[in-house]
Symmetry: C2
Subunit: 301 residues, 2 copies
Amino acid sequence: MNHAIQGVHCAAATPVTADGAPNLPAFVAHCHALLAEGCHGLALLGTTGEANSFGRDQRIALVEAAIAGGVPAGTLLPGTSAPSVEDTVALTAHAVSAGAKGCLLLPPYYYKEVSDEGLYRFYARVIEGVGDDRLRIVLYHIPQVSLIPISHELIARLMAGFPGIVTGIKDSSGDLANMIAMAARFPGLGVLAGADPLMLPLLRAGGAGCITAAANLRADALRLVWDGWNDPARQDAVAAAQARISDWRALSNSHALLATIKTMLARRHDDPGWLNLMAPLVELTTAERDSVWAAMARLGG
Amino acid sequence: MNHAIQGVHCAAATPVTADGAPNLPAFVAHCHALLAEGCHGLALLGTTGEANSFGRDQRIALVEAAIAGGVPAGTLLPGTSAPSVEDTVALTAHAVSAGAKGCLLLPPYYYKEVSDEGLYRFYARVIEGVGDDRLRIVLYHIPQVSLIPISHELIARLMAGFPGIVTGIKDSSGDLANMIAMAARFPGLGVLAGADPLMLPLLRAGGAGCITAAANLRADALRLVWDGWNDPARQDAVAAAQARISDWRALSNSHALLATIKTMLARRHDDPGWLNLMAPLVELTTAERDSVWAAMARLGG
């Protein structure tokens, strides 16, 4: 495998204070922990990272805090998109200048039922606005949230128009067939699974890895799958890791995903500050929290 | 009628250059024309104004250009929302400081199926972040685009929590029954119709006016309805104006709404630059454009 963007990436959650500001020291500590647990890269400021609930200045501050705190810039794959070209260029240019390995770009998500021509223009203007050959884009297909699917025709046009720049796609649709179809049709595109248990079957079909939420909790198991998936001698360990990933993914999905991930991280880091979310998301109820923590204990983590 | 925000407001379209920047002189000229045609106020930077396709700096520049160009700040009702509290506070505080009559605030629109509690927190944090008693908020209910409806329970809670601040709602759902129900339940809330032909029935049910897209073309007729709706001697003129509004509204809806409004403005202002849209929206085809222009000629405008 030799994609510009490949490997196990955590869709890193972002700790925040009770009054809605990023908790930068706790975030940096979480980034270091994720790399120590096995992540190749950190896809900070995605959907799990509540990127769109932070303003432009807060998002830039999070990237800068990670780098200033010793997280290698080359491990960072931040979400840098906004509904406007102007703000997307500002965030993306900053990340490229800071040395990020790539940028995860949603389509503009305010207007619905927009055309591929309109989406192409959006991405083209962002790429031209950034104007930096170091830019590596991972497209972000999450139609159940953005309501704006990224079609194969749009991918083909962007890869033809900007070879070497549009190098990956994160598919959070949960549709493994779509991921496999993209990997088959676009050999130069690194296809990253957005759901933890799908990384293994996607790797077997030519995919490039993952960007997932449960990696906040079980990066170790995902890394074990990544390292061993193609080694006949390690299939038992891979199967065991895959089962562990599925258990933790199921628990993270047992209530509202982002609130549950943060609830689990509060226990993991022994820090109740992790329970906070940015508006408009809200924390779990006390009963839900206790249930999640009890289930974590049963899973041995 | 005595609402903090009432009257005929145009959801002003925003002219842009071919490379995607606001055309500030053309915008200022359009604002002056709309006031001359009868608008009480200008709801710039809403959905029709492509607000979310402009970055934070572009949005601030548009408000400042209007005021510097002689448009009275007290006529302005800009859209100042973004998916994040931070950016919404920045845009809203700027508009309040500039003397705007109010601010139109979408709910945060990235995450779907969020709770009223989460939406309340978003608005509360924005209001507290702006921290200015001059702030007047018009909530923006456009669930077919934002996918985030604004419930009556949320309105009640916001009006109770921030009396005198949360003073209006724009309802772009097209659901007249919802508008009438809000006007009945919340006497202190100025309910503004988001569809031109609905202003008249809403006024008769206690509504406060409108914020509409076809006001870019037929503010004169909307103003005539506003001035005469309650005067028994002017009902013939009101009915004629209402018919004219419906004809123009239907034409603006004959193709993609925003592209059609801009196509109509290109003819009205005799300026092909008005044909441009911001990505991800695209202009009409040549055939569609010619059809719209021919229909405008038939309508006598």
